[in-house]
Amino acid sequence: MSRFKNTFSDGVGFDTILVMIALGYLVLFSAFPLVYNIVMSMQEVDLFSLASFDRPFVGLDNYRDVLGRPETMQIFFNTVKFVGFSVAAQLAIGFGLAMFFQLDFPGNTWLRGLFLAGWIMPAIVVGGVWSWILAGDFGVLNHILLATGLGDEKIFWLSDPEFALYSVILANIWLGVPFNMILLSVGLSGISEDVYEAAQMDGATRIQRFFTITLPLMRAQLGAVISLGVIFTLQQFDLFASLTQGGPSNASNVFQYWSWQLSFQNYEIGVGSVISVLMILFVVLVAAVYVRSTRHEHVA
């Protein structure tokens, strides 16, 4: 305790206070909700028992309930596809663009700025715009496909169960590319030109230079971008809300949207919490990868 008093007299213990503030924040806004969520996942919770702790304890019944529902597997695989395709495409396009903008050409910075548009716009607006593009009867995309002869009949991007999920993925890729591009640009500009010049003199081709210099030196950034991409993709909610609402018939439903539907549309908050808990477990795994990849950064 005397250390706190010392803070004001000689500054000793100031560090403790700083740590306490950070810890207090974490406990209040991260640890408490996490634990509370786990507790709720083992209780029967509805709207009216939200405010009290005194709720029927049901053990793992909610977990059994979720795992036993016929739609669970479909939504699980949708989530895997959504995250997998989104992150892979965001990374590939983002990396490509980042390398493209490393080149020196007129208008470079302007163009790069324009690519940030997707990042600045709220996802709900992006969803609104994409829903016009992808609309079945009067969508821009269908119009282009038909007018150019690339397609011979309308595709119902948002209401055909074969396409709905991929339509949301498409919009999400567009939304996530700028973030990938910016983070990878920073990494790329950290690689010294000299290394490339030396390799070029030794006769390394462009492709060899990419695989032996760029890729290994970007490992830390790539690890970070992939793990953040996975986390952001698992958070993506607005696009589902504005494009398909998870439909038709769960064809484009994913865990994060399903959890919200269960909690706030069906008022089965305990069951909705189960899904959040499962997602948290997964995100913790991804976060571990992220921490590892940034640790490499320090070693290097």
Partner: protein, 402 residues
């Protein structure tokens, strides 16, 4: 009179005025309306007539109402009066959160439950009590483009009356090369899908608690052929009623199933002659049914001023004959509407109102509704056949009903 008497008299007069000009009673009212709409207008009129009562109106988004109300009640911060959507009255009434109005209604000269149509009355009744007064009602009917009927050689004075006629008409009216669908409706995975689906089932004798029926399967198969044969847009699966009717207004659909709330926009956007007719029945002479929409004015059990609150909702109820012309709802009780706007369409909806049935009531309505939506969507996307999907829905609903 001496000085003392004067002071006493003054004090007495002061006490008297203090009672007469006492602080007005404050009532909190939550509504889904925006300023200028029903509750705001009516609250102003009420306060002008009753200066001793003040009403604080607050807008809550329709989708947030149940959540906000539950939170408000838990936090002791609930309003005195609120709007609740029909199927949710049972949810709150079953938990003792709403005031049973039965004694107030018995004492009232204005409210007489016999005047309220059966559908709206069922929506505010729960377990023998009456927990609200309908503020109005709406229902659905079949709008049709009379010009397109003539062009296609159909008689606009003789619109489809049965499901078969509806199907035939939709087929004749569909013109894919001009991007015109015969029919628009909503099979969305939301309460709107349930709202549009249940009347079809009810016409064949089923209901939410008896859904695995031949009639319900016939409905889904008919819906599926509408979409599968290109008579209705595949987007029907993800589009609400407002957007579906938008395609009717622009001439991209020749018929649409929707409610009276569409009329102000339709009269502005549609540059053709639009008419309305009752929802077609499975076969001639079959029982009629229609959906019941709109909501109710309810008083929270926690209200400190239930008498004043009832005075207000009684005042609202007394103006039922104005709701069509002023606010675009149908009256929920037997009243005479003088000089209605859109008189022919009003007549259709007023008639349809007699067959309008409540959804539920059941305190866990959202789960029941979800089971119905799943059956609709799995059938229409071809993941299951109608009978199979309905059997699944029935077992999900049975679990809720137990």
């Amino acid at each position: 009179m001496n000085m003392k008497g004067l002071i006493l008299a003054g004090a007495a007069w002061g006490a008297l005025t203090a009672t007469a000009f006492a602080e007005p009673v404050e009532l909190d009212l939550w509504t889904i309306d925006d300023p200028g709409e029903y509750h705001y207008v009516m609250a102003e009129e009420f306060m002008a007539a009753h200066p001793e009562i003040r009403i604080n109106v607050r807008t809550v988004q329709f989708d947030d109402m149940v959540n906000d109300l539950a939170r408000g009640i838990a936090a002791g911060d609930a309003p005195d009066i609120t709007y609740i959507d029909n199927p949710e009255v049972a949810l709150f009434a079953s938990r003792g959160m709403l005031l049973d109005l039965t004694p107030y209604i018995e004492a009232s000269d204005i409210v007489n439950t016999e005047d309220i149509y059966p559908g709206p009355l069922a929506s505010v009744s729960y377990d023998g009590g009456i927990y609200g007064l309908p503020r109005g009602a709406n229902t659905i009917a079949l709008y049709y483009n009379a010009d397109m009927f003539r062009e296609a050689g159909l008689d606009p004075d003789n619109p489809p009356k049965t499901w078969d006629e509806l199907y035939e008409a939709a087929k004749v009216l569909t013109r894919p090369e001009e991007n015109i669908y015969g029919l628009a409706f909503s099979a969305q995975a939301s309460e709107e899908g349930t709202f549009q689906f249940l009347p079809w089932v009810q016409m064949t004798g089923g209901d939410y608690d008896n859904i695995a029926t031949e009639g319900a399967a016939r409905t889904l198969e008919l819906w599926k052929s509408f979409i599968g044969e290109g008579l209705a847009s595949p987007d029907t699966l993800i589009r609400g009623q407002w957007d579906s009717t938008g395609t009717f207004n622009t001439g991209s659909a020749a018929m649409v199933i929707s409610g009276p709330w569409e009329l102000p926009r339709m009269s502005k956007e549609a540059d053709f002659e639009f008419r309305a007719t009752l929802l077609p029945v499975p076969e001639e002479g079959a029982e009629r049914a229609s959906a019941l929409g709109e909501g109710d004015n309810v008083i929270l059990a926690s209200s400190d001023n239930p008498d004043e609150a009832f005075k207000f909702i009684e005042f609202l109820y007394a103006d039922m004959d104005r709701v069509w012309n002023d606010f675009g709802y149908l009256p929920a009780s037997e009243v005479e509407v003088t000089d209605p706007k859109f008189p022919e369409i009003y007549a259709v909806f007023a008639e349809s109102m007699k067959y309008a049935r409540n959804r539920g009531p059941h305190p866990e309505w959202p789960k029941i509704s979800k089971a119905l939506q799943t059956a609709i969507q799995t059938t229409l996307t071809g993941q299951a056949d109608a009978a199979e999907a309905l059997t699944q829905a029935q077992s999900a609903i049975d679990r809720v009903l137990q």
